[in-house]
């Protein structure tokens, strides 16, 4: 059995009003991938931030041992020097810099006089990218011009360039395409063979099955059970450890007969601002019915986000086509027009497009529906009413937080997502479009969200869900559109939808 390289003992970490970690004990070995699982807010990211020096000693209690030696990092640099690399859950790249500059930030190759050797920096970057199987971006591309998935790959390249002995990956695949995930896993297997110890956080069970060697579960800041080899534990047992109860039905779909057509989209096109003459979405036409969940499937970059963004008025200057709601032609020039018409869009990119990070839960929940909690004339906000509304959503969605005045940026990723969900529910939409709504959400909460979608359709809301997770689309949607390269290429009824057929259309091989 390989050597224990990392041991964390009795780790306790408090935030104002929250004990995020409450006596965590675990160890990881060289050449293994240890999966760290747990619900949203269980403390996974916090634990890894303690390890990587983001939370320096003595802001936590307990001991960390590297190869048996006690370490106390004062900052992330020290942890890096000790061989700990981390890929954070939230992207931390600098948008205005190139890929190479981001990867070798502060560590560029220099000559004797301290001048940066750009050739070498670019060459090393190119080597890393090639190793990762990335061939559509180059070292000099600006980070702001590449997709979120590619940015994630750049983060991974950056962590690899550190040649860390212990590599932490906090939900690295949440924005990756299938191919990128495959490439990442190939690298992970290679690193394992090289003896690197990896801590891997993910809410995706299939991934865990594929690459994890052992698994540790956190619940409410505590390790539940021993670190267990993946072969000795079933999926249901993992879930039971995570949520403290059994989940019987992953996809609690209720059958419900969809009503009349509500949303009609006709010939919608979105042009590509970076490449005049080309299209992100091309002549897309579809309808959605009252009381149905319409799924939109496809690969990342297929134009799904742009399609719904176009409907929502997110890029009025690039969008052409007609949108009708309940038979009435809409003239949507901005998201405001869409919202006023009864359409809501939960965006895919939570941090950049959804959140007001340094504002409270309450602020974030009511910002898109201030009219409902304020006077008509001067727009004076009724704070008591606001608190009541926000409390209701926090309770209904099970947001884990000390108070509704808590700054949303301090919540765990999954809990942030729940707050945004509450924000859009509060605007009481007729058509609710959700772009990757369960990304980064734990299993228990996923099921809660599915149940919520059920409730919504029963109330007559039209739900449109974009998802990259096929099981979710197959499990929850009444109808599935498949997009490929900006076009809607097929339309499956629930009963005819098969995984293989959808994939074939999505990859353009059908």
């Amino acid at each position: 059995m390989s050597e224990v390289v990392l041991k964390m003992q009795g780790i306790i970490k408090d935030f104002p009003g929250v004990r995020a970690l409450n006596n965590v004990n675990f160890e990881a070995r060289s050449g293994e991938l240890l999966a760290l699982m747990g619900e949203n807010g269980a403390g996974k990211s916090t634990l890894m931030k303690v390890l990587s020096g983001v939370w320096p000693y003595p802001t936590y209690e307990g001991d960390i041992f590297l190869r048996g030696e006690k370490v106390r990092f004062a900052n992330t640099k020290e942890a890096e020097a000790a061989g700990i690399g981390i890929i954070y859950q939230e992207l931390n790249l600098i948008p205005g810099l190139s890929v190479a500059e981001n990867i070798f930030l502060d560590r560029q190759f220099t000559d004797a006089k301290g001048r940066i050797n750009w050739n070498q920096t670019f060459a090393e970057t190119q080597k890393l990218l090639t190793e990762l199987g990335i061939n559509d971006i180059g070292p000099t591309d600006l980070v702001q011009n590449i997709t979120v998935g590619k940015q994630q790959m750049v983060e991974i390249a950056k962590a690899l360039s550190l040649k860390a002995e212990i590599l932490v990956l906090d939900e690295p695949t949440s924005a990756l395409t299938d191919k990128e995930v495959k490439d990442l896993f190939r690298i992970i297997r290679k690193l394992k063979a090289d003896g690197v110890c990896m801590c891997y956080i993910s809410h995706k069970m299939e991934e865990i099955e594929q690459i994890a060697d052992r698994i540790a579960v956190l619940r409410d800041g505590q390790t539940i059970g021993e670190v267990t080899p993946i072969a000795d534990i079933t999926l249901d047992q993992i879930i039971a450890r995570m949520v403290g109860r059994d989940i019987k039905d992953m996809f609690p779909k209720v059958d419900f007969t969809p009503g009349e057509v509500t949303l009609e989209v006709d010939n919608l096109s979105v042009t590509n601002p970076d490449l005049p003459g080309s299209y992100l979405v091309k002549n897309a036409s579809f309808v959605a019915r009252k009381g149905e969940i319409l799924g939109i499937s496809g690969l990342m970059g297929a134009g799904r986000t742009e399609l719904v963004g176009g409907v929502f008025g997110a890029y009025p200057d690039q969008t052409t086509g007609d949108v009708k709601l309940n038979g009435k032609e809409l003239d949507i020039k901005s998201p405001k027009d869409a919202i006023d018409a009864g359409i809501a869009l939960l965006t895919e990119d939570r941090k950049a497009l959804g959140l007001f990070l340094d504002k409270s839960i309450s602020f974030n929940t009511t910002i898109s529906s201030l009219e409902t909690i304020s006077s008509k004339v001067l727009g004076i906000i009724n704070t008591q009413q606001e608190r009541k509304v926000v409390k209701e959503y926090v309770d209904q969605l099970g947001v884990k937080t000390p108070s509704i005045d808590t700054v949303i940026g301090t919540l765990s990723g999954g809990n942030q997502q729940k707050v945004i969900l509450g924000k859009w529910l509060n605007s009481r939409p007729d058509v609710f479009i959700l772009d990757e709504p369960t990304r980064g959400i734990d299993i228990g909460a996923k099921v809660e969200i599915y149940k919520l979608l059920n409730e919504l359709v029963q109330q007559g809301v039209t739900v449109i869900m974009i998802s990259s997770e096929l099981p979710e689309v197959l499990g929850m949607c009444d109808r599935i559109l498949v997009m490929c390269e900006g076009e809607i290429v097929s339309n499956f009824e629930r009963d005819d939808a098969k995984k293989e057929a959808i994939m074939a259309y999505a990859t353009g091989s059908a």
């Binding site: 800041g221 602020f363 201030l370 004076i380 099970g398």
Partner: protein, 386 residues
């Protein structure tokens, strides 16, 4: 899953000293202001007299009024460099109109409309519609408005002919009426705090005792001081009353209205704000219009107090206004800040100017000291965020 399952006792150790440090951090500008006032009172007998303080309050109003608008602009991560020139232009336009025989009662609103709304909409239009950086647009306007003021007057001053006009900047509300107004305001303030606490309790919201006490103490102290100063020397100066109304409106707007919320959202994350249904273009246009109108008003008050307008009035006011906002704790990055902080910032600058003049500090040194204080304030703000 219950919300409190994860709530455990926060480290009790060091809670007390943390409290003190946090208290000082939260109220640094206010503490600095109080220390400065106490220090100056000891340093110079002429400082803490009703007459000096009354004059001081009147001096603060000009920058104060502009700074209320500047708070909103900076809150949405913008900047307005043209305010000083707008002050000059509006002073000139208003006095010229009166010279041409337009009665004061028409000249003032006409100036607010033509200069204030006009320039504000122009600035806002380019900034909001075409996404041109506010720094550039308002820098341009800084020159344009100054040039207009110089052109209109041919470079010379305009005397005031009306005898009503000087009242705007120079008159006082009689002491008797002043005391009634002050007492009424104080009563209203106490009542509103009391009601807030009651409502919070009724809804099981925890009341922040420390904040409440500080607010209460500041209010009582403020009203007591105002009462003393204004009843023993001529009454409340009219411009101070105007400023008080504007400051209150500013605080209320940011705290308690939809519009205020949207400003915080816009400054915090513009893309998210747009996707949350906020009309970004309209909101920005309104904000730039508000600050221009307030600057125009400041120009009118200034011309009235000086009994005439020179085209160079208001030069460099943008710096004092921005300084007041920044010292008051509003972040230049947008998204966070308060009008109450700005008022304290404006008072701090005012007291500093007044005190240094009383003590006979040479004007050149005054500039240096003011600059250092601005840097100190920003440094403090940055350190605090770490």
């Amino acid at each position: 899953m219950s919300a409190d399952s994860n709530v455990a006792g926060v480290g009790v150790n060091g809670a007390k000293e943390n409290h003190l440090i946090n208290f000082i951090k939260d109220n640094a500008t206010l503490i600095a202001l109080i220390v400065l006032v106490v220090g100056l009172s000891f340093a110079d007998d002429a400082f803490f007299t009703a007459r000096n303080l009354s004059n001081l309050s009147r001096q603060v109003t000009i920058i104060g009024i502009i700074a209320v608008g500047m708070t909103m602009v900076i809150l949405i991560a913008g900047i307005d460099l043209s305010v000083g020139s707008v002050v000059g232009l509006s002073a000139v336009v208003c006095t010229l109109m009166m010279q041409w025989g337009v009665p004061t009662i028409l000249a003032v609103p006409a100036t607010l409309l033509i200069v204030g709304v006009g320039i504000g909409l122009w600035n806002g239009f380019w900034i909001a519609k075409f996404n041109i950086p506010p720094f550039i647009i308002t820098l341009g306007m800084l020159t344009i408005a100054r040039g207009l003021a110089l052109t209109l007057t041919n470079g010379s001053s305009v005397p005031v002919t009306s005898n009503v006009f000087p009242l705007i900047g120079g008159a006082y509300i009689p002491p008797m009426l002043s005391s009634i107004v002050l007492i009424a305001c104080a009563a209203l303030a106490v009542y509103s705090i009391f009601r807030d606490v009651q409502q919070s309790k009724a809804h099981g919201v925890e009341v922040n005792m420390q904040e409440l006490l500080v607010n209460g103490a500041v209010m009582i102290g403020g009203f007591a001081l105002a009462f003393h100063v204004f009843t023993s020397y001529k009454g409340i100066p009219v411009p101070v009353a105007i400023f008080a109304v504007i400051a209150f409106a500013g605080i209320y707007t940011l705290n308690s209205t939809r519009f205020g919320r949207r400003l915080y959202a816009l400054g915090g994350n513009e893309d998210a704000a747009r996707l949350s249904g906020i009309n970004v273009v309209r909101t920005k246009m309104i904000v730039y219009t508000v600050i221009s109108v307030l600057s125009a008003l400041a120009g009118i008050i200034l011309a009235s107090r000086l009994n005439g307008a020179s085209p160079n009035l208001g030069t460099m006011f943008e710096l004092d206004a921005i300084a007041a906002v920044v010292i008051g704790g509003t972040s230049l990055a947008g998204g966070s800040g308060k009008v109450s902080g700005t008022i304290i910032g404006a008072l701090l600058i005012g007291v500093l100017n007044n005190g240094m003049s009383l003590l006979g500090v040479v004007t050149f040194y005054q500039l240096i000291i003011k600059g250092l204080i601005i840097i100190l304030a920003v440094w403090f703000d940055v350190m605090q965020k770490k």
